[in-house]
C-alpha cells in the first residue's frame, strides 16, 4: 500500500463528490437542520408524550381522583355516567375514591394499572409539598450495589460504615447522583456517593413513557437513583446513557448511506475497472475510497464528544470515548462495504443498509442501555463511551474486551469485501447468498486456508454470541441457558463449515471424503486455536456473569477442577471442533442437501457436548 496513492484516491473521492454534492443539496441540508433547530425548542416545550390520551376515564370533578387524572396526559377525562363503560365511551369509571367499573379487556386493566401508578405519583408529589416532612416522608433509603465474588468469599467487614444517608429528605440536590464503578473493576465493592434526593419528592422521573422528556441530558447521566424516598430508587436504567448512545450512532447511519452509494457506483457500468488496471493496489483503492467517510464520521463523533463535554459531562476524558467509538465507525463502514459488494442494485443496497443500520444499532445500542447493570454491557463499545461520559474509570482490559471484537469484525468484513474487489466478482450480477460464498472462496488458496478462515470468522462468532447473551439477558435464566447453548452450537458450527462449503462449491477443494476430513480437521484446529486466544483474553477480563460464562465455558476449564480433568477439558474442545467440522465437511463435499444434513449432525454433537460440559462443571 502506498501512502501517496491512497491519499490521491481519497482526495479524488472528496473532490468528485464535492462536485457531486452540489451547493443546492448543501443548502437544503443546512436549511432542514436550521428548521429542526428552530422546531426543537417548540416541540420540547409541547412535550413529546407519545401516550397522551390513550386511556379514557370517566370521572366527575367532585372526585379526588379528578385532579390526578387531569394532571396525567395519558388519560382523556370524560364526565362520569353509569353506563359509559358498557357503551365503550370510557375504559375506566370512577365515583368518589372508588373505581366502580372498568372495561374487561387488556386496555381496561392497563388503564387501571396506570391509574394506580398515577395516584402513587400524585401522592408522592403531594407529600413533597407538605410542611411536615417527617410525617410526609417517613422513610428514606440509600441503595448500595455490592459485588459478590463468584468463587471466593469476601470478607464483608467494610462497606456498611460510610454514606449512611443520615440527612434525610432532600437537600435540594441537582439530580446527578452518579454511581461510580458500579461494576467491573476489582475494588469496586461500594458504590454510593452521598445523598441527593429531590426537594419535590421525586417521582417525576419515572413517568413519561419510554421516550418522554429528552431533556436533562446532564442530569440523566447517572440515573441509577441511589438514595432518597422509596419511589426515588430505580433499577439502573440509565435513560441519559440511552440518549447519548443514540446520539453517537445516529450520524453513522447517514455516513454509510453515502459510503454504500459510492462503493456500489464503482460497480455499476464497470466504472471501477480502469482503476484496477492502473498501478494501484486494491488496498489503495479501498483505503482511499473509505478514508474520507471514516474521517467524516470521526469528525461528527468528535463534534458530539466536544458537545457533550461542554454540556457538562464531568470527569469525562473525551478521548477515550472517541477511541472507543472508532471500532464502531469502522464496523459500520466495513459492513456497508461488504454489503455494497454484495448488492446488485441500489434497491438492494437500500435493503442492505437498512439491515446494517438495524443490526449494528442494536448491537451498539442495546447493550449500552445496561451500562450500569451488568458487565455484559461491555460487549458494545458504546458502553465505554457512556461510562467515560459518566466520569467512570475504564481499565485497559475492559477497553480491549469492548473494542477488540468490533475492531476485528470490522477488519474481517473489509477483508472479505476486498476479496470481491476484483474484475471477476465486482461486475457480475449474482444473488447475495452466492456472493457471500464467493467472498469466502476468494480467500481460499490451499487446504490450510480452512484453518485460516475459521480463525478469521471467530470475531463474528464472538460478537454474535455476545449479542445473543445480551438479548437473552432479560429472560429467566432457566430459559436463557439452554437458549445460549443452542445459539453457540449453531453459530460455531456454521462459522467452521460455511467456508468449507464455499470451497467445495467453487472447486477449490476436490470433492472427496479424504479431502473433507483434512479440511474439516484443519478448520476445527484453527477455530480451537483462535478460541483459546480469546479465552485467555476473557480470563484476563475477570468477572464474567453466569450466563456469559455458560456460553464460553464450553471452550475451556472452569474453576475448581482437578488438573487431569482440566487438561481433558482443555483438549476435548479440539477433538470436538475437529469432529463436528469434519461432519459438516463430509456433507458439504457431497451436495447442498448433504451439507445441511452434515451441519445438523455437527450442531447436534456440539450441543450434546456443551450440555455435558456445562452440567459437569456447573452441576
Amino acid at each position: 500500500m502506498e501512502l501517496r496513492k491512497f491519499l490521491r484516491i481519497a482526495r479524488w473521492e472528496v473532490t468528485k463528490n464535492a462536485g457531486g454534492i452540489d451547493r443546492r443539496t448543501a443548502a437544503i441540508t443546512v436549511g432542514a437542520l436550521v428548521v429542526l433547530g428552530v422546531l426543537a425548542p417548540l416541540i420540547a416545550s409541547q412535550g413529546v408524550a407519545l401516550d397522551s390520551g390513550i386511556y379514557r376515564a370517566g370521572v366527575d370533578e367532585s372526585s379526588p381522583y379528578h385532579e390526578v387524572l387531569t394532571d396525567d396526559a395519558t388519560f382523556a377525562v370524560h364526565p362520569a355516567s353509569s353506563d359509559a363503560v358498557e357503551e365503550g365511551r370510557v375504559d375506566i369509571l370512577i365515583e368518589g375514591t372508588e373505581v366502580v367499573d372498568w372495561a374487561d379487556s387488556a386496555k381496561g386493566r392497563a388503564a387501571l394499572a396506570e391509574l394506580r401508578s398515577a395516584v402513587q405519583r400524585f401522592n408522592d408529589q403531594l407529600m413533597g409539598q407538605d410542611p411536615n416532612q417527617t410525617a410526609a416522608s417517613p422513610v428514606s433509603v440509600t441503595l448500595r450495589y455490592v459485588e459478590r465474588s463468584l468463587a471466593t468469599t469476601q470478607s464483608a467487614g467494610d462497606g456498611g460504615a460510610d454514606s449512611g444517608g443520615s440527612d434525610d429528605g432532600g437537600t435540594g440536590g441537582d439530580g446527578t447522583g452518579g454511581t461510580d464503578g458500579s461494576s467491573g473493576s476489582s475494588d469496586g465493592s461500594d458504590t454510593t456517593d452521598g445523598t441527593t434526593g429531590d426537594t419535590d419528592g421525586g417521582g417525576d422521573d419515572s413517568g413519561g413513557g419510554p421516550l418522554g422528556g429528552l431533556g436533562g441530558l446532564a442530569g440523566g447521566l447517572g440515573d441509577g437513583g441511589t438514595s432518597g424516598a422509596p419511589s426515588d430508587i430505580a433499577p439502573p436504567f440509565p435513560f441519559g446513557s440511552l440518549v447519548l448512545a443514540f446520539v453517537f450512532v445516529l450520524p453513522l447511519n447517514f455516513v454509510i448511506q453515502a459510503y454504500g452509494s459510492t462503493i456500489l457506483s464503482e460497480r455499476i457500468n464497470r466504472r471501477g475497472e480502469l482503476m484496477l488496471v492502473s498501478p494501484v493496489s486494491r488496498g489503495d483503492i479501498i483505503v482511499g475510497k473509505t478514508l474520507p467517510y471514516f474521517l467524516g464520521a470521526m469528525f461528527f463523533e468528535g463534534l458530539i464528544t466536544v458537545g457533550l463535554l461542554t454540556l457538562g459531562a464531568e470527569g469525562a476524558t473525551g478521548w477515550i470515548s472517541l477511541l472507543a467509538v472508532t471500532p464502531l465507525v469502522l464496523l459500520f463502514l466495513g459492513a456497508t462495504f461488504l454489503g455494497a459488494m454484495f448488492a446488485r442494485s441500489f434497491k438492494e443496497l437500500t435493503f442492505v443498509t437498512v439491515t446494517i443500520t438495524v443490526a449494528l444499532t442494536s448491537f451498539a445500542f442495546v447493550p449500552a442501555i445496561f451500562t450500569d447493570v451488568t458487565p455484559i454491557a461491555l460487549i458494545s463499545p458504546l458502553t465505554i463511551v457512556v461510562r467515560d461520559l459518566q466520569g467512570q474509570a475504564i481499565s485497559l482490559v475492559e477497553f480491549g474486551f469492548s473494542t477488540l471484537p468490533a475492531m476485528l469484525t470490522a477488519i474481517v468484513t473489509f477483508g472479505l469485501g476486498a476479496g470481491l474487489y476484483r474484475e471477476e466478482d465486482m461486475f457480475t450480477q449474482r444473488p447475495i447468498p452466492l456472493k457471500a460464498l464467493d467472498a469466502l472462496s476468494g480467500r481460499i488458496k490451499r487446504r490450510s486456508s480452512a484453518a485460516k478462515l475459521s480463525i478469521l470468522l471467530l470475531p463474528f462468532v464472538f460478537v454474535t454470541e455476545l449479542i445473543a447473551v445480551a438479548m437473552l439477558f432479560a429472560v429467566p435464566q432457566s430459559f436463557a441457558l439452554p437458549a445460549i447453548l443452542i445459539v453457540v452450537a449453531v453459530v460455531e458450527e456454521l462459522a467452521k463449515s460455511i467456508h468449507l462449503y464455499a470451497g467445495f462449491v467453487h472447486r477449490k477443494y476436490v470433492r472427496t471424503t479424504r479431502n473433507a476430513v483434512i479440511v474439516g480437521s484443519l478448520s476445527g484446529l484453527g477455530f480451537f486455536l483462535a478460541e483459546k486466544v480469546s479465552l485467555v483474553v476473557q480470563l484476563l477480563g475477570g468477572d464474567i456473569p453466569d450466563v456469559e460464562q455458560a456460553a464460553f465455558l464450553t471452550g475451556g476449564a472452569g474453576p475448581a477442577v482437578s488438573a487431569l480433568v482440566a487438561i481433558a477439558l482443555l483438549l476435548a474442545p479440539l477433538a470436538l471442533h475437529a469432529v463436528t467440522a469434519t461432519a459438516s465437511a463430509i456433507g458439504a463435499a457431497r451436495s447442498r442437501r448433504g451439507y445441511v444434513v452434515g451441519l445438523t449432525v455437527a450442531i447436534g454433537i456440539h450441543l450434546a457436548y456443551n450440555l455435558t460440559v456445562v452440567s459437569f462443571v456447573v452441576g
Binding site: T97, G160, T374
Partner: protein, 327 residues
Amino acid sequence: MLALLIQLFIAAFSSFLVVGLTSLYDPGSVEAAGLEVGVSGDAATELQEAAREVDGIETVRFGSPATAMAQFQERRVDAVLDGRLENGTIAVTATVPDGSIQSTLAVVQIRTILETLERTERVERAQWLDRPPLPLPQETSASPYFGFTYTVLVPLLLFLPPFISGSIAVDAITEEIERGTLELLRVAPVSLTDIVDGKALGMAVLAPLQAILWIVLLGANGITVRNVPWLVALVGAASVLVVVVGVVLGLVTARRRQAQLLYSILVLTGFAGLALLPEHPTTVVAKLAVGSATATTTATVVALALSAVLLYAGMRRYVRTLDPERY
C-alpha cells in the same frame, strides 16, 4: 422478498425491544419468583411487616448489619435491608447484588416493600399532614407492555414501511437515470409521467399492504388493533407523501447519493415538524389502534390524506413539465 425478510428482521428486533426494554422499565414482570431479604436494625419489625404484604418476599432477621452482610456474601440472602430510626423517620440502607439481572429485580421488589412501608407510616402520621394521601386503587394483572405496544411498537411498525417505500422510490428513479434507461423513453410509446406514475403508485401501495399484514400478525399475537380502515388510510397517505418527496428529489437531483441524503433529512425533519400539529401522527396511530380516537384524531387523518392527494397531483404536474432528454 428481501423486503419482507428485512421487515421480519425489524419486527423481531422490535419485539425484542418490547420484551427487553419494557422488562427493564418494569422488571417486576420478568420474574416474581422468591427473593430472600435479610433484615436488620431497630426498624426490622416494620420492614418485615411491610414485606409480608408483597408477594414472593421471604425475610430473615439478623441481629446486626455485619452478620446480614456476611450472609449476603455467602449468597444465603439476595438482598439486605438495614432500617434505623432517626429523628422520627426510618432510614433504610438497602444492599443489592451488583451486576446481574438479580440486582434489577431486587431493586424493584425492595422499592415495593419500602413504598408499602412508607404508605403505612404516612397513614399512621396522617394527623400531622395538611392533606392525607389518596387511597390507591386496587391492583390488577395488567400487561406491563400494553402502553408500549400501542404507543411505540404499532407506530413503528406502521410508519417504517412508508419510510422504506419512499427510499426505494428514490432508488427506482435515480437508478433509471444513472443507468441511462430514461433516455430510451424517447423511442418508447410511454411518457415520463406514465413511468413515474407506475413507480410511485407501486411503492405507495406497498406500504398500506404491509401495514395490513402487520395488523393481522399483531392480531394473531393477541394485540387487537382497532380502526383498521383509518389506520390503513393514514399509512397510505403517509406513504404517498414520502413517495412524492422521494420521486421529486430523484428527478431534481438525478443522483442517488444526493437524493437519498436529502430524502432522509427532509422526511425526518418533516416527521419531527408534524409535532406542531394538535396530534402527532404517532399519537394518532396510537389513539386509533387502541380505540381512543377523538375528533382531532380523525381530522388529522383526513387532512393528511387530502394533502397527500394534492401533493401527488402537484408532482404529476411537475413531471409533465420535464423533458426526459435532460437525463
